[in-house]
């Protein structure tokens, strides 16, 4: 009799399971010889496939860029949130599921509060994110506004607004009272779908601890983002949050 869990093997192999699903599958895997065997078979049968790739020329300067970025990266003390298993071969989902930075219970405890007065929208100059598309800015309608709650020991405050513009959703973040950044550090906005973080804008603060960013959420309609959060990151390139959540709100 096939367990329903056995059907998740492919999505496990490709790292598509949520943290919860992944944990459940791994516990199933321990007791299911047929899944163990199939997984091993998948690993073996796909082992040579990378070599099917056409050799292509690497971009100019790639070596220099990568090696200097790699070495730079090590100068920043990474927070001890690294999950040791994330790079093991085999079906380890690249989204690091064991990260502890995101604490659902904390966010769940927060209350959503609407900013009713269409708080003055203004563009913050420190905007840094390349992906932002904020050159021409015309407000169409404010869909939602949220007040982010600060985590324990954090004094900061922030609001998030979703603005419908040209049929896309613009996320506008404005924050006050944030701790000063050092070196390359940046504040990073994330939107989360079932615990999976997606980058949603990067910003720095001015000398008064104020900062903000506008970010286009192209896929707002297909996605089901449930949380917004701000972390402090060692630089503008974090693909996964490395710092703790400073501010957050359910969406």
């Amino acid at each position: 009799m096939m367990d329903k869990q056995c059907d998740l093997l492919l999505d496990y192999f490709n790292g598509h399971l949520t943290n919860q699903q992944k944990a459940a599958f791994e516990s199933h895997l321990k007791d299911c010889p047929s899944c163990q065997e199939e997984l091993k078979e998948l690993e073996e049968l796909t082992m040579d496939l990378p070599y099917a790739s056409e050799p292509i020329a690497v971009p100019d300067g790639m070596k220099q860029r990568i090696l200097s970025n790699v070495k730079d990266d090590s100068q920043i003390e990474n927070k001890a949130t690294f999950d040791q298993t994330d790079s093991e071969p085999g079906p380890k989902p690249p989204i690091k599921p064991k990260r502890t930075w995101f604490k659902p219970f904390m966010v769940a405890a927060l209350t959503l509060s609407l900013v009713g007065n269409g708080a003055a929208l203004y563009y913050i100059n420190e905007q840094k994110d390349d992906a932002d598309t904020g050159e021409s800015f015309s407000v169409d309608s404010m869909k939602e506004a949220y007040t982010l709650q600060a985590s324990e020991d954090i004094e900061a405050a922030a609001t998030a607004m979703m603005i419908e513009q040209n049929r896309e959703t613009n996320l506008i973040i404005q924050a006050n009272n944030l701790p000063e950044l050092k070196g390359d550090e940046k504040y990073q906005v994330w939107v989360l779908e079932e615990g999976k973080p997606f980058r949603a804008g990067t910003f720095v603060t001015n000398q008064d601890g104020k900062g903000g960013v506008s970010y286009t959420l192209h896929d707002m309609k297909e996605r089901n983002y449930d949380t917004i959060a701000i972390t402090k990151e060692p630089n503008a390139n974090s693909q996964q949050p490395q710092g703790d959540i400073l501010l957050s709100s359910p969406l």
Binding site: P50, I66, L67, P94, R199
Partner: protein
């Protein structure tokens, strides 16, 4: 003498810059080409290679020889880095259309080893012997990293049959490869 991968790996883990560069040179092209095959975008491919070397350099990684060949392990990390990037870029509505930009490769590096070249030809030929549907399913599953339900939709298959089809296609490919190897030995 060419230093073993495993030695270089341990030196890189101990922050040896010379070893980092040696290992980088050895695998740059393979990892980049594979990442490009996965992401179909040279910026993402570069980002993936950078992610891999950042991990090798700044994190303590659990590779040991019992886990099989270092190159296979490294390629698995690379594939995961690509899948990770693809998932994230999807959230930015990243259109991954760059086949046209595929560059002619006029500069085979010395480290584009005989191993790669030989394996490349073998696998390419073997893949071409598969039925189109089987080629497609391997492509969607392995290189595109689709979910089971995405594959079902794309191939117009009932969800419950996807896993079997993937297995069958891979097994079939493997059979062709094994046969080719046996023939190769006889000839």
């Amino acid at each position: 003498m060419r230093e073993q991968d495993i030695e270089l790996f341990h030196r890189v883990q101990n922050k040896d810059e010379v070893a980092l560069e040696l290992l980088y040179d050895r695998y740059e092209k393979l990892l980049f080409s594979f990442s490009f095959r996965m992401t179909n975008n040279k910026f993402l491919a570069e980002e993936a290679v950078q992610d891999v070397f950042t991990k090798l350099w700044s994190k303590s990684l659990p590779y040991s020889e019992e886990k099989g060949k270092f190159s296979s392990w490294l390629l698995t990390i690379t594939r995961n880095a690509c899948l990770d990037l693809l998932r994230k870029k999807k959230s930015n509505d990243y259109e991954l259309k760059e086949r046209d930009a595929l560059q002619e490769d006029n500069d085979p590096s010395p480290e584009e080893t005989a191993e790669w070249k030989e394996q490349h030809e073998e696998i390419q030929h073997a893949i071409k012997e598969l039925k189109t549907e089987q080629q497609e399913i391997i492509n969607l599953f392995y290189f595109r990293g689709f979910t089971q339900s995405q594959i079902a939709k794309k191939c117009n298959l009932p969800l419950g049959t996807v896993k079997g089809r993937v297995r069958l296609s891979l097994q079939h490919l493997n059979k062709i490869l094994t046969k080719k190897k046996e023939r190769g030995i006889r000839e």
